[in-house]
């Protein structure tokens, strides 16, 4: 015991910690830099880069670190690179850590909900902004535990530097054991030192998790929740859920004002139609063709939408409604045909070539095509207000104050001022969709595309969202293309409905007319099925 304490406090061993930490730090920092490059290459659009990164990963993940250490130390000098031992060890450790860190980064990036990326793109974010503002903040949060693991393993792996004469803790321990023959006291002492070091890494990991916890600000989350013996799921989750439920269940004070249902007389309708007919063209789709794996999704589709017009796209699932909407703001590529928004071919250069993702993003922001998704796709790490204000700052260059003011205005318009600081996960589906609409409206788009905006909502939440959309049509005269299954809503709000089937428009015309007197048998059948469904629902 006394020998153990003697070695535990021996300066010779304690000085070894410094080198152990140096090698670990070099390995982790170098590994992170290399890992970032590798992950970037693997996720790249260019196959050669991703193939190179794959090859590197296979080699460096597939060979033992001890060989890599010896290689960096003894083989590199033969080609003229003679690194000091600590650097050689750090280099080998970094090269070895890189593929593991790259996989962590890749998993973190791929783990971010695809819908949020689409939403970010639709808002005109360039790939760089998307990475920095949407992907990275969420990916980093999920990666911290894995990175903690990696740091602990790097710390332990640094002991292999003992084979290349780095005087770190393990090498010092073995030398001391050889000259004193106090084998066990020495290794118990150095084992305890390693434990203290890895314990410190774990503590840093927990502290970071606590700092970055999104619920920390809004909920009474305590550092104690992170202690290993604390069962967070049992102790905290029900409490959180209760509070969230309470939030959504309370009657919303600043609820939407009741507006009389839009019961336009046929006279009003005719007048509105006449006005719209004189307006300029907002969106023009000509002979659009697109297929997935040889299956045609859009098969020569034509559609013209004038400024101020509200067009409802109806049709069975798979008829091409969503794909059409995504093509209009160039979230998807297509094979043939032309789309013009405000007279411009979005996403193509003057020579007709497809622009880079970055240039397309900038065009999207300039032309002003807003999009609302079925699954809301709010940025999960941002509050309701920040979901609206953030893109205004990052894409449109508004100042913080100006962006917040606009976000506040829009939240009030959709009746959610009181939930401005709530995270999406603490909002009901209807509230989330209202925030998503506010977010799409924030940059004053010339066209708003809504992709089945109420399909993912519980029936009792559908109306609050429809009400918001209805008012956009009447009060703002916004040009909108809505894909929907809500026949009655289409009848009330849309100027025109277009019935899609098999990637083409089978029938289109004034909403009320098509919906009450469909000419095409497929339209008639679809409408009667939808009607039957609705009545079944009503009975149930």
């Amino acid at each position: 015991m006394s020998l153990f304490l003697h070695y535990l406090s021996l300066p010779y061993l304690l000085q070894g910690i410094e080198l152990t930490l140096q090698v670990t730090a070099l390995g982790l920092i170098g590994g992170l830099i290399l890992g970032l490059i590798l992950a970037g290459m693997q996720l790249s659009r260019f196959w050669l880069l991703s193939a190179l990164a794959r090859g590197y990963t296979v080699i460096f993940r597939g060979t033992p670190l001890i060989l890599q250490m010896v290689f960096a130390y003894d083989a590199l000098p033969h080609i003229g690179i003679k690194l000091p031992a600590v650097l050689a060890a750090g280099l080998a450790l970094a090269c070895n850590e890189a593929p593991f860190i790259a996989e962590m980064l890749r998993a973190g990036v791929l783990g971010v909900d695809r819908g949020q990326l689409l939403a970010g793109q639709a808002l005109g974010m360039t790939p760089a902004v998307l990475m920095r503002r949407i992907i990275a903040p969420q990916a980093i949060r999920t990666m911290i535990p894995a990175f903690g693991n990696e740091a602990v393993s790097a710390l332990k792996n640094s002991s292999l530097a003992s084979v290349i004469a780095v005087q770190e803790l393990t090498l010092r321990s073995t030398q001391l054991a050889s000259s004193t023959f106090d084998f066990f006291s020495i290794f118990f002492a150095s084992g305890l030192i390693y434990l203290v070091l890895t314990g410190a890494v774990s503590a840093i990991q927990l502290a970071l998790e606590w700092l970055l916890d999104l619920d920390r600000a809004s909920r009474q989350r305590q550092l104690a929740d992170y202690l290993p013996w604390r069962r967070v799921d049992v102790a905290t989750k029900p409490k959180l859920a209760e509070q969230t439920a309470a939030d959504t269940a309370t009657p919303e004070p600043a609820e939407l004002k009741e507006t009389p249902p839009l019961a336009l007389t046929s006279e009003d309708r005719a007048k509105r139609a006449a006005t719209i007919a004189r307006n300029n063209i907002a969106v023009e789709v000509k002979d659009l063709r697109k297929s997935y794996h040889g299956h045609a999704v859009l098969d020569g589709l034509d559609l013209t939408v004038r400024i101020g017009e509200v067009v409802a796209l109806l049709g069975p699932s798979g008829s091409g409604k969503s794909t059409l909407l995504r093509c209009i703001n160039h979230l998807e590529h297509w094979e043939a045909g032309e789309i013009r928004v405000g007279g411009r071919r979005l996403g193509f250069g003057d020579d007709g070539r497809t622009l880079s993702p970055r240039a397309i993003a900038n065009e999207r922001a300039n032309v002003g095509v807003g999009m609302v998704f079925q699954q809301f796709n709010l940025f999960a790490h941002l509050t309701a207000k920040e979901n609206i204000a953030g893109p205004l700052r990052w894409v449109h260059g508004l100042g913080r104050f100006e962006a917040e003011r606009r976000a506040g205005e829009l939240l009030e318009r959709v009746g959610l001022s009181h939930r401005a600081d709530a995270l999406p996960r603490h909002l009901s589906g209807g509230q989330q969709q209202r925030v998503a609409i506010a977010r799409a409206l924030a940059p004053n788009p010339s066209v708003l595309l809504l992709d089945e905006p109420t399909s993912a909502l519980d029936p009792e939440l559908v109306n609050e969202v429809l009400e918001v959309i209805r008012r956009l049509a009447i009060d703002d005269g916004l040009t909108m293309i809505i894909s929907t299954h809500q026949i009655r809503f289409a009848d009330e709000v849309a100027d025109r409905v277009a019935f899609l089937n098999g990637g083409v428009i089978l029938e289109q015309g004034p909403a009320h007319e098509v919906l009450s007197h469909p000419r095409h048998p497929l339209t008639a059948r679809f409408l009667s099925v939808m009607d039957a469904e609705r009545q079944k629902d009503a009975v149930a």
Binding site: L10, K82, A85, Q167, T174, S178, S179, T180
Partner: protein, 296 residues
């Protein structure tokens, strides 16, 4: 009177202090006083290394030859360390040390990460493919066994059949033990097994833990182990191995090899070599006139 006495006492005290300081100053000088006379001429003849600091790769797990000083772990001590420094003094260079596993000694030298290897390494033709050797010591191996020699092992012979031998990776004893395999088989006995470790301490621990039956290595290393665990270990016998211990230098530096050889001759002439054997309690029979061993 009292005052006078006091002064006298103080004088005595000062004289004592002076003696201590003088002794302190003189001791290192005495230790270095052995720099032989012929060395000045050598430094003129081989001026390239004068004032330089060279790196000596060692496997510091062999107390008596090279190991860290248990009293001051920041220093390496042992016969090889002193001999290397005596050669360095003679040619005018100083040494720093790079601790590596035994099997990495020559690769470290070949990659240029070290300039010289003085680490109780046996000079063999096989190893001479990787480095040139200046031999300086005869080899006597000891057979380390558990107290009482329960398996009755008496050397690298038929008594080794069926036993488990612990050795360091890269040791010359490894092929010698392996060669016993067919011989044991011919004698109708089980073959010996080999356990490879990467330092002496691990080999000794293997015997203490009952994993290995014997560890055959330099007799001095064996003696040190027995001294550390007199109740648990013993030396069965010393065997002669047909090798010499050598200083390894890079193959592409014949001038350096010649300089080291010349310096070693001077050091031996001045009696330093013998003194060091005595200082580290090594058998004076180890002494050997230097030779060069190269691959061809």
């Amino acid at each position: 009177m009292q005052k006078w006495l006091f002064t006298k006492a103080r004088r005595a005290w000062l004289a004592a202090l002076g003696a201590v300081i003088a002794a302190g100053l003189l001791t290192p000088i005495e230790a270095q006083a052995a720099t032989p006379a012929g060395c000045a001429a050598l430094q003129d003849k081989y001026p390239d290394w004068k004032g330089k600091t060279l790196t000596n790769a060692i496997n510091p797990h062999t107390p008596g030859y090279e190991a860290i000083d248990p009293k001051d772990p920041s220093k390496y001590v042992g016969f090889d360390i002193d001999l290397g420094e005596a050669i360095g003094d003679c040619l005018g260079f100083t040494l720093t040390y790079k601790p590596v596993v035994f099997a990495a000694l020559l690769t470290t030298l070949a990659s240029g990460q070290a300039d010289i290897v003085i680490s109780d390494i046996y000079a063999t033709k096989e190893r001479a493919k990787a480095a040139d050797f200046i031999t300086y010591s005869k080899v006597f191996d000891g057979v380390l066994v558990a107290k009482g020699n329960p398996k009755g092992i008496h050397g690298i012979d038929l008594t080794l059949c069926g036993a488990a031998a612990a050795e360091n990776t890269g040791f010359v004893e490894v092929p010698l033990v392996q060669d016993m395999g067919p011989k044991c088989k011919d004698a109708g006995k089980p073959e010996p097994t080999l356990q490879l470790y990467d330092n002496n301490a691990n080999c000794i621990q293997a015997i203490l833990a009952g994993r290995a039956d014997t560890y055959i290595n330099d007799v001095n290393t064996v003696d040190q182990a027995v001294k550390a665990y007199p109740d648990k270990l013993e030396k069965a016998i010393a065997v002669t191995i047909p090798y010499s211990v050598g200083i390894a230098v890079p193959k592409d530096k014949p001038k350096f090899r010649d300089a080291v050889l010349a310096a070693l001759i001077e050091v031996q002439k001045a009696g330093v070599h013998q003194e060091l054997l005595k200082k580290w309690e090594l058998d004076p029979a180890n002494f050997k006139e230097p030779d060069i061993l190269t691959a061809d």
